[in-house]
């Protein structure tokens, strides 16, 4: 016969003073685990949410990022006449030649500088990216102002609203110098949680002249339909003259995981390291619990409960304790969900902003992890409890 769960519940609650520290210890371990993984999750989510599945992105073969890719004007001219490419209502081919420039700019808090990714886009660049929209911005005094797109040739720039919180002079009406030009901020863009939230957009040909670049960095193309998409990819990749790589825009961004990897690794490492400490703490608590309840265990045995039942009962109690800890840990971490933060992207070598993303899967992982810590920590004390000699246990004070 198994011991009722109520028995374990009651025990955990009655002995709250002794168990509190262990529960909190496990809670903090779980919170750290969930938060660090949520960070990695956020980075992955932002690249996975980038792009339109209909688009094809073309970069140089061998380049690991758009920023180190080079494509030429001749190639642009050639591609324009490919009939796989969709045409808009003015029958212009829907293709944008982009140029990526990194600009080192001062942070808003005055603490150092960081690279910001400038994307120069050509006329079709905006319509190719429906997930990017203008949002109302703030001027230097904090008044809300409407945004507008840049006018080519006037040194105007549209910055990401999320970057605007992190860099100086990014308010609407603000201006800053980069290279020989002074840029004027005319709008804020919102990339809807995608990698575009870490970019500033300018006109591509203006950027080429300001930053003295002959080549573009990449092409973004909208093919007519499914069939012409695969034709186009095969046609570009197959042409030995180009040495280009073409793939679906969403696929390209999905593969950008270089930044998330080390953070994920850090999260797992921290979880393991902290859980070792937590296991010791759980052991301590449970040994004390067994010690204090020696007589009780003896009584249970006399009543006919078997060794195995006692063992399982203590294990359940440890798991329960840890589960409560895990729940508290998840609760501690939850308010951070959606909080925006930033670091250097290992792909583009520029500031990337993303939000902590706490998913149900992550919370489940945290809880399972907590229960494991509880069971491992309780195992030895539980074995000890089940092996107590009945008579000695009853005699003990």
């Amino acid at each position: 016969m198994a011991l009722p769960l109520k028995y374990n519940f009651a025990n955990v609650i009655v002995r709250w003073r002794a168990t509190l520290a262990t529960v909190l210890g496990i809670a903090l371990t779980v919170a750290v685990f969930v938060l660090v993984q949520a960070l990695a999750e956020g980075i992955k989510k932002s690249s996975a949410a980038t792009g339109d599945p209909r688009n094809v992105l073309v970069v140089r073969k061998g380049s690991t990022a758009e920023s180190s890719s080079l494509v030429s004007r001749e190639q642009l001219r050639t591609f324009q006449y490919y009939d796989e490419i969709a045409r808009n209502e003015r029958s212009e081919p829907v293709i944008s030649a982009d140029i990526i420039v990194l600009a080192n700019l001062p942070r808003r808090d005055g603490k150092g500088e960081a690279n910001v990714l400038f994307r120069g886009i050509t006329a079709r660049g905006v319509e190719l990216r429906p997930q990017v929209n203008l949002v109302p911005g703030l001027d230097a005094q904090g008044n809300a102002l409407a945004s507008r797109w840049f006018t080519p040739g006037r040194r105007e720039i549209v910055v990401s609203a999320r970057l605007a919180k992190r860099f100086a002079h990014f308010r609407i009406g603000g201006s800053f110098k980069s290279g020989p030009a002074t840029f004027h901020v005319v709008g804020w863009l919102d990339g809807g949680g995608s990698a575009y939230d870490s970019e500033c957009w300018i006109d591509a040909d203006e950027a080429r002249s300001i930053f003295d670049r002959d080549m573009y960095s990449s092409f973004l193309i909208r093919p007519r339909d499914e069939a012409s998409r695969s034709n186009l990819i095969a046609r570009i990749e197959g042409d030995k003259r180009f040495q280009l790589r073409a793939e679906s825009e969403t696929e390209y961004y999905k593969k950008q995981t270089l930044t998330a990897k080390p953070i994920q690794w850090l999260g797992s490492f921290l979880a393991v390291a902290m859980s070792i400490g937590a296991v010791f703490a759980a052991m301590n608590t449970m040994y004390a619990a067994v010690g204090a309840r020696t007589r009780e265990v003896g009584t249970l045995r006399v009543l006919g409960f078997r060794r195995r039942t006692v063992l399982v009962s203590f294990l359940i109690e440890g798991a329960l304790l840890a589960f409560i800890g895990g729940l508290i840990g998840c609760a501690i971490s939850l308010p951070m969900n959606g909080y925006t933060t930033g670091t250097i992207s290992m792909e583009t070598f520029s500031e990337t902003v993303f939000a902590f993303s706490i998913t149900p899967a992550l919370l489940t992982k945290g809880l399972v992890f907590a229960v494991l810590v509880g069971i491992v920590g309780t195992f030895l004390p539980a074995v000890r409890a089940s092996r107590l000699p009945v008579i000695a246990a009853l005699k003990s004070l």
Binding site: A21, L28, A114, S178, L397
Partner: protein
């Protein structure tokens, strides 16, 4: 029996609990020291005398923006500049390592380069061989060891930043710099492959003296102000530190994890100490009845202090020992190079342990002080 034996006996009367408390303190302090070391390695690059003497000049726009080759003639004439070399980060993927190559490759002008980077120790014959053949390179001893490379071997790279692949022959192996991993090769070779674009990544120069360095920086910046390619020169030290700001919020993250670890530690130790004291309420009451008052607090304090310190010795000391004896570049796949535990880290860890010992003694001590002798004697467990 004197006071010391009494304390030791008390601490060890429940050996299992003492061991578990010490181990949990040790595990947490180990983690704490490790995080501090990692954070330091990320944010405080290694330093030597040369790093305040050498200057890096990059494009003011950003490191990714090239500089025109014609700037060389102007920089050379700037007073205080001892030597200058083009210095371009090639950023190739070493054959077979598509994702991550643990060492950097730089294109330099070999003759000028040896005048700037004087720390490197290399056989003069190997150096001459490097000068003579523009398809050769020199390799740091760490990288050579890691891949089992020797003179005459070839290294093949896929260009990730530049659109050209390179095939370099090893002319020599150097040692004695801050980071003996890098590969240096002829800038001319890169230029040829690219079709002479007339640009370089950065300029690397050496000032006549450390005192002169800030003035040289100033002069270079001024020399190219309001030109098509404005230059941002800074000492090598300042250049390395400028990367720290790019890490963004990751620094804060690791910092806060450190505090969480310490806090968790505190909780566990406090609870263990109060468990230990609760267990012997009765005998503490006896001691109280015998007239001991302040001594009781000293006993409790000494015990918790001893437990915490043993934990620190094991955890922080263990970290120190481990990171000293491990081949860090190999274990971490070249991500961390030195992983040095500084006296400051050890001091911090032991300081926290000491504080821990004191704080966790306070709670139980107050309970003991509050409990009357009769109450204490009545307690059963």
């Amino acid at each position: 029996m004197n006071a010391a034996t009494y304390i030791v006996k008390n601490a060890l009367r429940n050996k299992r609990r003492a061991l578990l408390s010490v181990l949990s303190v040790a595990a947490s302090l180990f983690l704490f020291v490790m995080l501090l070391v990692a954070l330091r390695e990320m944010t405080v690059p290694p330093e030597d005398i040369g790093s305040s003497l050498r200057i890096i000049a990059r494009n003011k726009v950003s490191l990714a923006q090239p500089l025109p080759l014609k700037q060389l003639a102007i920089i050379e004439k700037i007073p205080g500049v001892e030597a200058v070399t083009p210095f371009s980060f090639y950023g190739g993927a070493y054959k077979g390592e598509e994702k991550f190559t643990s060492f950097a490759q730089f294109a330099v002008d070999p003759l000028r380069f040896t005048a700037v980077g004087v720390d490197a120790k290399i056989d003069p014959a190997e150096l001459q061989a490097w000068f003579a053949d523009r398809t050769t390179c020199i390799v740091g001893v760490d990288t050579a060891k890691r891949y089992g490379l020797k003179i005459g071997d070839r290294m093949r790279f896929t260009g990730q930043i530049y659109p050209v692949d390179l095939d370099l022959k090893i002319a020599g192996i150097y040692r004695g710099t801050m980071d003996d991993r890098n590969v240096f090769f002829h800038h001319k070779y890169l230029d040829e492959a690219l079709g002479d674009p007339g640009t370089v990544g950065t300029w690397w120069l050496r000032a006549a003296s450390p005192e002169e360095a800030p003035r040289v920086v100033e002069r270079i910046n001024r020399a190219f102000a309001n030109t098509a390619a404005e230059v941002r020169a800074e000492t090598e030290r300042a250049f390395q530190l400028s990367f720290v700001s790019m890490w963004g919020n990751i620094k804060i993250l690791i910092g806060s994890i450190c505090s969480v670890v310490v806090f968790t530690l505190l909780l566990v130790t406090v609870s263990t100490m109060s468990m230990a004291i609760r267990e012997r309420f009765r005998e503490l009451a006896v001691l109280k009845a015998l007239g001991f008052r302040r001594e009781l607090f000293a006993f409790i304090l000494a015990e918790s202090f001893a437990l915490a310190m043993t934990g620190a010795l094991l955890g922080a000391g263990g970290a120190w020992w481990l990171f000293h004896s491990l081949d860090i570049p190999k274990v971490t796949n070249g991500i961390f190079v030195s992983f040095e535990v500084t006296p400051r880290h050890m001091g911090l860890a032991f300081g926290i342990a000491a504080l821990l010992g004191i704080i966790s003694a306070i709670g139980p001590a107050i309970t003991v002080a509050r409990t009357s002798v009769v109450q204490g004697l009545r307690t059963l467990d």
